[in-house]
Amino acid sequence: MNWRYRFVFSLLLLMFVAILGRLFYWQVVRASDLYILAQSQYGKVLQITPKRGEMRTLDGFPIAANKVSYLVFANPRQIKDKKEVSKIISKVLDIDVASISAQLELPRFWVPLKHDADFKTKKAIESLEIAGIGFEEKYTRLYAEASMAAHLLGIVGKNDEGKDKGYFGLEGYYDRLLGGKEGYIVKIQDALGRPILSKNSENKTYVDGSSLILGIERPIQFMVEKKLKEGVEMYGADSGMIGVMNPETGRIIAMASYPAFNPGEYSLLSEDIFVNPFVSSGYEPGSTLKPIVMAVAFEEGVVDPDTKCPICDGPLTIGEYEIRTWNDEYRKGSNMVDIIVHSDNIGMVYVAQKLGVDRMISSLTKFGIGNLTYIDSQGEIAPSLKAREAWYPVDLATSGFGQGISVTPIGLLTAFSAIANSGKMMQPQIVAAVESPTGEVSRIEPKALGTPISEATAKVMTEILVTAVNKGEAQWARLKGYRIAGKTGTASIPVKGHYDPSSTIASFIGFAPADNPKFAMLVILNKPTVAIFGAETAAPIFFSISRDILSYYEIPPSE
């Protein structure tokens, strides 16, 4: 071959290799950079905020849904007469002129004017036809039942990046599930910004939030809240709370605290009010703990219902402390049934002493006292039991009648429900099922926390609690015709190492119908002033609610 041919061939080959190398560089090595550059030129990136999952009550009503709202924004560079526009816009948005004017004076292309504006406001502004004003559609929470179950639901606030985030209650606990996953779509457009029909490149990770189906029964929740409000006002209490639970499954049927709040107006309120006291506050339960201690004593075999109390004939002195009954009445030779029926503190000291510190601690722990119940709500606390070495004789004595021990209301209701459920303690659960964005429903199965007492002990204790309702201090308020098991409670409030002599926490705990319980309920009134005892305040609220729940469940009287 002629050298000229070889030279031309080599030159062409070299050029070909060079071109190949360059193509490899741009199409393989720099492919991703070029892709992004190209997209920025012909594509428009649209951020997709996932729709937050709803929360529905057992009847399917969305107690927390989504509504359309708008972020009103402006491009100050497009607005000529800023003073006039500020005046007009401020009237429609109900914001002072100075704030709007200050925003419009900023040397920017985009300034926010108002978050969460409603559809009417948007229409009103659109009708003004002001150039430079725009809207961004968003979803915000809609609470059609206003403040109903507010403490249970929690709130949806903003995180550091200004994005929606759930805080407190269910919103906080299930935030990731409800919130879904953000994504974006790249829309291909022409030079004039018009979309071109093409395959959109979509981020596969985009997922809407899942919805929660609560075990809450809306009519019962509504009624409980109404009666709680009336009760707090009638008895001049500082606050109050009620929890209703199905003892067989642990499902929360209703839970209310008063004063309540509207989660849609959270930005106007102090943070303290968002905390659900039923799961996040500890208190000394007083006499409502007596059935638990007595059940433990029966289970351990240290006493039986017929055991006579040898120390119940007068006040008792332990160290420097004198222990008395709530009404200063003493019954010589009372048995264990009488002790519960008359809520006898001295009798309970006898029971506690028979149990001893070790058995008291281990048995209370079996009932979950000092531990979390693992309810699906953010912010649950578990006031811990004292360490073994910190138990003095007076601590053992007072623990028998529920003083010197702190529990959360949900902890007490969960423990007490074990008596109603043949000794089996169930984990309290607010959410009954989760519905994925595609409509698949996953049920949450009931979970047992343990079996602190036997079925036989639970039966005996139930009978004693029925007698306590029928013959105890709250018998005047009882619901005739029904067998209801229950116990009053009037607890002293510890303040700086002493008990407040002027105020109490009045409560009533019980379940109905006693032979086949459909619900267990705890009613607590904080510092009632009209009357201080649980039998006079919390008990009538308990029986009034019980009457309506039994009627709602269509359970006829048994007696």
């Binding site: 059609a144 039942e145 206003a146 109903m148 979309p195 071109i196 029909l197 509504f222």
Partner: protein, 99 residues
């Protein structure tokens, strides 16, 4: 000669045909963007309408609203409950007599 002309002309015709087809299709697709934009905004409009109607519906269905409407209309809660025991009905008596 004729065969070679045929071999050359077929791909040329095919190329011309495909080029024309692509031009026509591109033309159609490029202008359909306006339609797509219209349809998209219509979908958005109806989605918003749907949500607004749902919002109205939920507010109407809320127990808070039902209770206040009932109270305005003069409904009061019944103070007495009539419970019919299944053992006391006439039908159960007759049935037990038949048995």
């Amino acid at each position: 000669m004729k065969k070679s002309i045929l071999i050359i002309s077929l791909p040329v015709i095919a190329i011309i045909f495909l080029a024309v087809a692509q031009t026509v299709l591109s033309n159609v697709l490029s202008t359909s963007g306006v339609e797509v934009s219209k349809i998209s905004s219509e979908i958005e409009f109806y989605k918003t309408e749907n949500l607004l109607l749902k919002e109205k519906l939920y507010r109407q269905e809320s127990l808070e609203n039902v209770a206040s409407r009932a109270s305005e209309l003069g409904f009061v809660k019944s103070k007495h409950q009539l419970i019919i025991s299944p053992t006391r009905t006439v039908l159960t008596r007759i049935l037990s007599e038949i048995k």
